[in-house]
Symmetry: C2
Subunit: 234 residues, 2 copies
DNA sequence: TAGATTGTTAATCGATTAACAATC
DNA sequence: TAGATTGTTAATCGATTAACAATC
């Protein structure tokens, strides 16, 4: 009797929920990366968790756990190789393979992102921009063409674009997201302060300025409201 | 024998760590607020947790807990008053009292924020901008003067500015933060991808695009790497 | 070898969720 | 009243931290 188990069955059995990493750890990886690149520039080749932690305000064991998700292996007593660590983080995050992206909404924020050359070092290349404003369509901004929104879905499909960036006003954001989904885009980076309705398989990340603003103003308000002696928590 | 307990002692005894709210709850409050304002615009005056939750993809009890931090009291069976809820959130977050802010770094991102009129509804007014680029100094952007960075500390002190926004390049951010601290600024909203070193009592919130980008690219990379059958986690 | 640092398992802590009581 | 919804206490879950073993 032959038991028929193919590769994907095995993988599903071994990791029923897919290999995973806590969201907070994921968010810290770019910070480690940034620090490590600085170290590499200074010619430092080995580093320990305690030193990384001291720089970022984290305890060593947390740094160690985070780094372990990338698959890196350190040496007791001498720590990690800076170069290997950078490599491990970049590979883990998929920064070696560039994601091509479309951006919609060429206002100040959209323009700022279009001009951000550094993104290409982090696996992101914005290849074209879209807008509905006819005065903007046809322009070139930071070497990227501004095209009419109607062309997005078709072009996304033909160019196999997987990532969409929404920097348009809140009112237009849902319609833009719908176009992106129609074009087969898999992930949306949303800067508009709206909850987008998209199919389950679409990855959405919101860059929500108002959440940050809320934290800031709550803390400021509290500081000027409560007695001076009290300590800052949260 | 008289026991001398003054007000602030009492308050310290009653809430040794100061009244607090989990960070995730705080971040969700603006989302409730946004939805509630929409409801109010539509003339809806009462709302239940389940409906709010359904809209934002949260379970009712979580919404209820979050809202309780604002001190709001609902009525069983009929839910909450939309108007009261909006009021409660705004008061809780301190959005009734405007925070005046200085912004440093008048690039595309800085300009975008300067032009964002809506902030004034959320307790934030940017009153002046600063830069080191002499071609920008002296200009007016969205009705705000662009001043030389050297004047920041002195002006912040004289105008009692408590909030600073950093939208300059990463290399300059630490120096800008130092100036802000010198000027007595209490809280910093940092858009530069650097870990700022400031005294303990300064509130710093980072708007870290690279963290979001890391999540997105990791999820995209994983999607195109792992077998199709696997489910999306995290 | 001794000591520093990684790797790993267990305990703790905080946020979320479940269960249920209170109330309109 | 019965039923819907809030309010609250207890259980669960996930991330952080502590403790300790392994290794260079």
């Amino acid at each position: 009797m032959v038991i028929d188990i193919n590769l994907s069955t095995l993988q599903r059995l071994k990791r029923p929920e897919a290999p995973s990493i806590p969201q907070p750890s994921l968010a810290r990886l770019p910070q480690y990366h940034h620090y490590l690149v600085d170290l590499a520039d200074k010619g430092i080749s080995r580093i320990s968790c305690s030193v990384i932690g001291a720089y970022l305000g984290l305890i060593p064991v947390q740094v160690r756990k985070d780094l372990q998700y990338t698959g890196i292996i350190g040496k007791p007593k001498t720590g990690y190789s800076v170069a290997e660590l950078i490599q491990a983080i970049e590979t883990f995050l998929g920064w070696n393979n560039i994601n091509e992206a479309f951006l919609v909404g060429v206002g100040n924020l959209g323009t700022a992102l279009l001009g951000h050359e550094r993104f290409s070092k982090f696996g992101l290349r914005i290849v074209a921009a879209f807008d509905t404003d006819s005065t903007k369509i046809g322009q070139w901004i930071h070497e990227k063409a501004v095209l009419p929104l109607e062309q997005l879905a078709d072009l996304a499909q033909r160019m196999s674009i997987h990532l969409g960036i929404i920097t348009c006003p809140a009112e237009a954001a849902q319609a833009v997201a719908d176009e992106m989904v129609k074009g087969g885009i898999q992930a949306i980076w949303n800067f508009a302060p709206v909850k987008l309705r998209v199919p389950d398989h679409i990855i959405v990340h919101n860059e929500d300025l108002y959440s940050t603003l809320a934290s800031l103003s709550w803390k400021l308000a509290r500081r000027f409201r409560v007695p001076v002696q009290e300590k800052e928590a949260v």
